[in-house]
């Protein structure tokens, strides 16, 4: 890992790496739940980006970054709930949770 | 003299730390406080196991353990030696890593919860601005360890017990959070020492504890119900009831790991009682204004032990609730009542001082309670007793 001249660059690179890992997970795995896990990792990476910019930015007392991150956490939780509900419902119907098998609209 | 006795532990720590150079002093001070917490609470746990067994025994019209030591008070030593020397059996098909980590995660997260409890005047380990949120975050992390224990044992009954325990804990966690929010609304801060300071005032002789207000009493009762369910204590102990699921999610644990689960459960009980006394019972403040000569840490631990006594009493007296009864109770009665309590707290705040707000809040809460209880009754068909015999 290259030495960073600023701490902000370090946090941004970690967030970028986590985002790439999440994206790889969402694209590469077969199971629907792992795709959702990848999406959650991507959202978390974006949150890290927001908080890092809030901390090192020019106006941290305006709390914009922190608010954005808190709302993002709330929305991500809601989206995970609905997504996992959908996966459970599809499993009940087709008895599988693999995305490769869900390639037809006929149910 | 009374003030000195009150701060005796702070003075002891400062005196011990003064032997070291200035650079090391803050870290050593914190380390000494941590050592004190790690020694005191497991010691209280040992005492509580004896109290529980003797208390339950007396409620059930029998003596508790009375062989080891005077009146059986050395029983925890015997229990400790037994659990340390028992063979540690791990099932062959169990997931060894997760099986090992589950009790560790439980004990670590429960110990972290003690860091924000104010155990006396100036006696809080870390005065965080968002102390209450930290406490609940640690409580949320405990649920995951319960699941890890149940799943890694590769045992259907363990998994079933773990799922039931997790479902119960998530439902009642919402109630716990909401009943604390009403306290936060009135005291204006999430920091626990400030909540205690807000209750540490006296009008005449009587203290301003939140339990002595209508919304505080309702909130405390909801908090107590949720606390009993969070720590899987009777009457909510279906996940670990001996007659139901052997030992639930810690069936496959033996020896020291089981002792760690036991320790974790009782420590969770202590920390949730500690939070309950901080939020509703005034923390370390004395009940009557002329009793402040008794040290503050005496009052805190006295109130916590009183709560533990009530837990033991409930365990010996009430029958166990079934899983669906438990969940119905949580979502259909306790949660709506807690939401109503939140609104009544807001009403209390905005009505200003005076006798009117006492009357209005009490009337609202009282009628809501009676109405909701009747609504729950109507759903049950209580008819004449019928019998079914095996053919």
């Amino acid at each position: 890992m290259t030495p960073f001249s600023t701490p902000l660059a370090g946090y941004l690179l970690v967030a970028a790496m986590l985002f790439a890992i999440g994206l790889a997970g969402a694209l590469v795995r077969r199971n629907a739940i792992l795709v959702l896990i990848g999406i959650e990792l991507m959202l978390n990476a974006a949150n890290l980006n927001l908080i890092a910019f809030w901390r090192y930015g020019p106006h941290p007392e305006a709390l914009t970054g922190m608010m954005f991150a808190i709302f993002s956490i709330a929305v991500a939780a809601a989206e995970a709930a609905v997504g996992l509900g959908l996966v459970i419902s599809i499993h009940r119907h087709t008895n599988t949770a693999e995305l490769d098998k869900m390639s037809r609209l006929k149910g | 003299m009374a003030a000195n006795l009150d701060q005796i532990f702070i003075h002891l720590r400062d005196w011990l730390v003064a032997f070291l150079p200035v650079v090391l002093r803050p870290a050593t001070g914190v380390l000494l406080s941590v050592i004190a917490i790690v020694c005191v609470f497991p010691g209280l746990f040992a005492l509580t196991t004896v109290f529980e067994r003797k208390g339950l025994g007396r409620i059930q019209n029998r003596l508790g353990p009375n062989r080891v030591g005077p009146f059986g008070f050395f029983q925890p030593i015997a229990d400790g030696i037994k659990s340390l020397t028992k063979e540690d059996i791990v099932p062959l098909s169990a997931n060894a890593g997760v099986h090992f980590l589950a009790p560790l995660v439980l004990v670590v997260t429960v110990f972290m919860g003690f860091a924000v409890l104010p155990m006396g005047r100036n006696m809080v380990l870390v005065d965080m601005d968002a102390g209450l949120l930290f406490f609940f975050a640690m409580g949320a992390a405990t649920e995951l360890s319960v699941f890890m224990a149940g799943w890694s044992s590769r045992n259907k009954y363990s998994l079933l017990g773990a799922m039931r325990a997790v479902a119960q804990m998530i439902s009642y966690e919402v109630v716990l959070l909401l009943s604390s929010v009403s306290v936060v609304m009135i005291s204006g801060s999430l920091s626990l020492p400030k909540i205690v300071d807000a209750q540490n005032q006296y009008t005449g002789v009587f203290p301003h504890w939140y339990i002595f207000t209508p919304w505080g009493l309702a909130g405390f009762i909801m908090y107590a119900i949720a606390a009993t369910a969070e720590t899987n204590r009777s009457p909510f102990d279906l996940p670990e009831g001996e007659s139901e699921l052997v030992a639930g999610y810690h069936t496959e644990y033996s020896g020291f790991k089981f002792a760690l689960f036991f320790l974790g459960e009782y420590l969770a009980m202590f920390s949730i009682s500690g939070l309950g006394t901080t939020l509703f019972l005034g923390g370390w403040s004395a009940p009557l204004s002329f009793l402040t000569f008794i040290p503050s840490w005496c009052w805190f631990f006295g109130k916590v032990m009183l709560s533990i006594f009530v837990f033991i009493w409930m365990r010996g007296t009430l029958p166990r609730l079934r899983q669906d009864q438990l969940m119905n109770f949580a979502w259909k009665f306790v949660l709506p009542f807690t939401l109503l309590d939140l609104m009544v707290t807001a009403l209390w705040r905005f009505m200003g001082d005076g006798w009117l707000r006492w009357v209005v809040c009490t009337v609202i809460l009282g009628t809501a309670y009676v109405f909701m209880a009747r609504l729950q009754w109507r759903q049950k068909h209580i008819g004449p007793r019928s019998y079914r015999y095996a053919e």
Binding site: M1, P3, T6, P7, L8, A9, A16, L18, F19, I21, G22, L23, A24, G25, L27, V28, R29, R30, N31, L34, I37, E40, N44, N47, L48, I51, A52, R55, P60, E61, M66, M67, I70, I73, A76, A77, A78, E79, A80, V82, L84, G85, I88, A97, L99 | V98, L133, F134, A137, A140, A141, L144, F147, W151, L159, V166, I170, G188, S189, S191
Partner: protein
């Protein structure tokens, strides 16, 4: 950069990698929890205490448990035949690497131009509360509506249909 940051970054990225690469789903979910915990600690290092504790409470206390419940309800313990990676895994990997390359390049060429506030922002929970009901009251209400809709929707989607043959 100090040692603690490297440790936390290694923990988070290790958890993320393990979550994506492990074959068994429950191990994957537990590795995700480790990644969430690492992120919460990174938030605490960035002096965002409220966000860090909210992350633990919401992600580890709720989302991780939700993922685990979903894995158990869809019988994720049986490993699928044909491997856990889809047939087009290489393309996905290339895309992810490409995205990381673009983001990393953007960060590295603009290192000097990035803002450098070094002092700790003095933010209390009181300020966050006032901001939530002052400046950000509209997002707060919308998120409340969204959460209600999501809860009702998730319950309806995952509910057993009445009278449907199993």
């Amino acid at each position: 950069m100090n040692f603690v940051f490297y440790l936390l970054a290694a923990l988070t990225l290790g958890g993320g990698l393990a979550a994506v690469l492990l074959k068994h789903l429950v191990h994957s979910a537990l590795a995700t929890t480790v990644a969430f915990a690492g992120l919460a600690l990174l938030f605490l290092q960035l002096d965002a205490q409220f966000a860090g504790f909210a992350q633990i409470l919401v992600y580890i206390g709720a989302v991780a448990i939700l993922i685990v419940f979903a894995i158990l309800l869809t019988r994720g313990s049986d490993l699928p035949k044909g491997g856990v990676f889809s047939a087009t895994w290489f393309v996905g990997l290339v895309i992810a690497a490409g995205v990381f390359a673009v983001l990393g390049w953007a960060v590295l060429i603009s290192v000097e131009a990035l803002p450098q506030q070094a002092s700790v922002p003095a933010v209390t929970v009181h300020d966050i509360g006032i901001a939530l009901v002052g400046r950000y009251v509209l997002p707060l209400e919308i998120v409340a509506l969204l959460l209600t809709a999501a809860t009702i929707g998730a319950v309806i989607v995952a509910m057993h249909e009445k009278g449907a043959p199993k």
